[in-house]
């Protein structure tokens, strides 16, 4: 019995060690390029480690059973007539319940930190506050949600392109340019079918729904060029509906903006 317990403890320790090592050392995600990304990756890591522990543990249990308890040649009779074990069943009901509850609360916390739990159509006060908020805003919203201190952009999605309107510059671009480390508020509308705005490096996605303008807010943190991908099936050329987001230094962004902006025409 003593030896059996030692082996069990050793195996459990090994499963935990391997899972934690893989969780902390194997990066399966693309570059982190927004404030949201490291917060998201924190959750991913936790889920990945817990998942690995359960998967490796169950796989070992199944394979071990197949080998250890396999029927040998000429062996007769059945296994032990064990129909249940109430305390064991209570344990493996309570433990997963606690794990699931903790994961749920933790992910709520993560989502709150990403700004997702804010009602964007009632957040006018919040937007003018000094508190740093990162919004992976995916609620329907009114125009009020676009704060004055953010870079405001209007996004039109159509089969099979994104168009970016810069109201302050009075011009439309096929590429999204934004300055690094500045909050960006996008009001998104679809001209035809459902599309989705996805930047994998930012870990954000929002459907663009015809008849229902949506808001998406983010803060890019790394200079570079990243793909904008339509993730919702939108027709034959869905796979080709891509654009680029160019995150650049403030000065480069201003240069680009000034080069493109058009004077307002007063009629």
């Amino acid at each position: 019995m003593f030896n059996k317990n030692i082996y069990l403890i050793l195996i459990i320790s090994l499963v935990f060690s391997i899972s934690f090592w893989i969780g902390f050392n194997v990066n399966l995600l693309p570059a982190e390029a927004s404030i949201n990304a490291p917060i998201y990756d924190e959750l991913f890591k936790i889920l990945f480690i817990i998942g690995l522990i359960i998967f490796i543990g169950m796989t070992i249990a199944v394979i071990y059973s197949l080998f250890k308890f396999r029927k040998r040649n000429n062996q007769i009779g059945d296994g032990i007539a064990l129909e249940g074990n109430l305390s064991l069943e209570i344990v493996w009901t309570i433990i997963p319940s606690i794990i699931v509850l903790l994961i749920g609360l933790y992910s709520y916390n993560i989502y709150d930190r990403m700004g997702g739990m804010k009602e964007l159509n009632h957040n006018h006060e919040m937007m003018s506050s000094n508190t740093e908020k990162i919004w992976a805003g995916i609620s329907q919203t009114s125009d009020n949600a676009i704060a004055t201190n953010n870079l405001s952009i209007e996004v039109s999605a159509m089969q099979f392109a994104f168009l970016f309107n810069y109201p302050k510059g009075n011009f439309i671009s096929g590429e999204l340019h934004v300055p690094v480390d500045q909050k960006v508020s996008m009001k998104m509308e679809s001209k035809d079918v459902i599309h989705a705005f996805w930047v994998p490096e930012f870990r954000i996605k929002q459907d663009i729904i015809p008849g229902q303008p949506t808001i998406l807010n983010f803060t890019p943190t790394k200079v570079g060029k990243y793909p904008i991908i339509c993730a919702e099936l939108c027709g034959p050329y869905h796979g080709g509906m891509r654009a680029s987001i160019i995150v650049e230094e403030e000065s480069d962004y201003k240069e680009w903006f000034n080069k493109n902006k058009k004077p307002e025409v007063n009629l």
């Binding site: 959750l43 169950m58 059945d78 992910s107 870990r203 996605k205 027709g235 034959p236 869905h238």
Partner: protein
């Protein structure tokens, strides 16, 4: 060929067609209907699998070069619809449910044999109609979800046929569901208590409740969608003031439970197979029953997790996150119980057992990614990507299809009286398991790194991983060959199985193989302990 329509003649074996002709008749015999479901479903599986192969050939290179882009969308729409509505749902419910449930409750047939036949005979014409819709002008190409406005604005004739076909298949499911509930509740042999029923009965009771409660919602939704297409109404068309998110709510109210409609019967089937080949009682019968009912209740209240990026309010995201994640608890109980059933047994390593164990490993993996997907922040990044494709296939192929094969190996001797060849069966398992994991495991990485689903072309950086995935798909296609050879060879020249080759205790094994028309000569046996291995029956071996 005799067509049995008179209830009194139905039970008369002399009036039934003999041999294989029996399976081409409008029979009211639940066993015949079960096999008809299975064979018909398998034929559609071959069609759906061919379409899957075409998808993987297209994705072996980044550009859209194997088929035109609109044809690609048509192919993936047809693939998804066939696999769900014509393969998995009819087989795990219709085929095994029809074959086994009357045995398990000690009845000679289903409660409504004619309704049962109607439920089956709706499937071949609807399936053929669905396949034929590909050849009319403009096949459906809005995916199996048929989200408006895309389904309204794409070519209409194919989409309308698609809707009609799915409506008929939904009707078939509802008829089947009503029949299963009535049979399990009302046709039980006197003296057989509910808590003595084999676990598959409970799984089918839960599944049928889901079918009856949720399928009508899909039917109503598709009827409204067809009005939008045909009569230019504006239920879901935003141009006419319709709301596309309402469609998503209604669609997913059925289509999330549809996952449980596919996997709950698989849970029931594996619960029948493991105790027989492990020679141990099913561990934790009572908790297994309650976990099925827990899954049914939770399964009905989690649909909106498919819509976290659609503009749902925060409270809804929180509720659906917690509810979805909690399904892991009853599901987890079942998995622990199955492992406990294996533990300390005398396990026969055969094809049925290997496919069942493969199911456990695959489904645990799919379940874990499912818990991750239930978390809103995680879901937002991977929603509508290849991560979801991978997760879904780990559940429905790695879970359900593995169990379908396991069940075929397990019950083939009962149905035909012949044994399948074990060497070919184990070869079938090995190629399927390797091919499946090679195909779908890498797709998690694709989704995490930026490959959306339902695309004919993709970023060239994903080519190598896609090629590995396509190689896995090729292996999965090849794996069907030893299975087909095995079935054909064994039906013709297989070893005689005897009545009960596994020495099993559930009622279907207590009659001849194949069973007579009315299931038993004389009275149905009362089986109070379907999993009583290691008790009084241990001396049999």
């Amino acid at each position: 060929m005799t067509i049995s329509i008179d209830p009194q003649k139905t039970n008369n074996e002399s009036l039934q067609p003999k041999g294989w002709l029996r399976y081409f008749s409008f029979s009211l015999d639940h066993k015949v209907i079960g096999i008809q479901y299975l064979v018909c479903g398998f034929l559609f599986y071959l069609i759906g699998g061919t379409l899957a192969s075409a998808i993987r050939i297209e994705l072996a290179s980044p550009m859209s070069d194997f088929m035109p882009r609109d044809v690609y969308n048509q192919v993936l729409t047809l693939h998804g619809t066939i696999m769900i509505f014509l393969w998995i749902v009819p087989v795990v419910n219709g085929a095994f449910g029809n074959y086994l449930i009357p045995f398990y409750v000690g009845a000679r047939d289903m409660a409504f044999p004619r309704l049962n036949a109607v439920a089956f005979w709706l499937i071949p014409p609807s399936g053929l109609m669905l396949v034929a819709s590909y050849f009319v002008e403009g096949a459906a190409q809005a995916g199996w979800t048929a989200y408006p406005p895309l389904s309204i604005t794409t070519p209409q004739s194919g989409q309308i046929i698609w809707i009609l076909s799915v409506l008929l298949l939904g009707g078939s499911s509802i008829f089947g569901g009503i029949n299963f509930i009535a049979t399990i509740i009302k046709l039980r042999r006197p003296g057989l208590k509910l808590m003595q029923l084999p676990m598959y009965c409970w799984a089918m009771l839960g599944t049928s409740l889901l079918v009856v409660l949720s399928t009508p919602v899909l039917a109503g939704t598709l009827i409204l969608l067809s009005f939008d297409i045909i009569a230019n109404t504006g239920f879901f068309n935003p141009v006419l003031g319709g709301n596309v998110v309402v469609y998503q709510h209604l669609f997913w109210f059925y289509s999330h439970p549809a996952v449980y409609i596919m996997v709950l019967p698989a849970f029931g089937l594996v619960s029948e197979i493991l105790p027989v080949h492990a020679r141990k009682p099913l561990f934790g019968y009572t908790t297994m029953v309650f976990s099925i009912m827990g899954i049914v209740v939770l399964g009905l209240v989690v649909w909106a997790h498919h819509m976290f990026t659609s503009g749902t309010p925060p409270w809804m995201r929180l509720f659906f996150t917690i509810a979805t994640a909690f399904i892991a608890v009853p599901t987890g109980i079942k998995f622990f119980n199955w492992v406990a059933t294996l533990w300390g047994g005398k396990i026969s390593i055969n094809s049925a057992m290997l496919f069942s164990c493969g199911f456990i490993i695959n489904f645990v993996f799919g379940g874990i990614t499912g818990v991750a997907l239930a978390q809103v922040p995680f879901d937002i990044h991977v929603h509508d990507t290849y991560f979801v494709v991978a997760h879904f296939h780990y559940i429905v192929y790695g879970g359900t299809v593995f169990i379908i094969f396991s069940s075929i190996y397990h019950w083939f001797p009962k149905v035909t009286g012949k044994m399948l060849n074990e060497k070919l069966g184990i070869l079938h398992f090995i190629i399927t398991f390797i091919g499946f994991n090679l195909c779908f495991a890498p797709q998690h990485w694709l989704g995490l790194n930026g490959m959306p689903r339902r695309v004919a072309e993709y970023d060239p950086q994903f080519q190598f991983v896609n090629q590995i995935s396509s190689l896995g798909a090729l292996l999965m296609a090849i794996s069907t060959i030893p299975f087909l050879i095995n079935v054909f060879l064994c039906v013709r020249n297989g070893k005689e199985a005897g009545d009960n080759p596994w020495n099993a205790l559930t009622p279907e094994w207590l009659t001849s193989s194949p069973p007579p028309v009315e299931n038993w000569e004389g009275e149905a046996p009362l089986v109070e302990e379907p999993y009583g291995y290691g008790k009084k029956f241990s001396a049999q071996k």
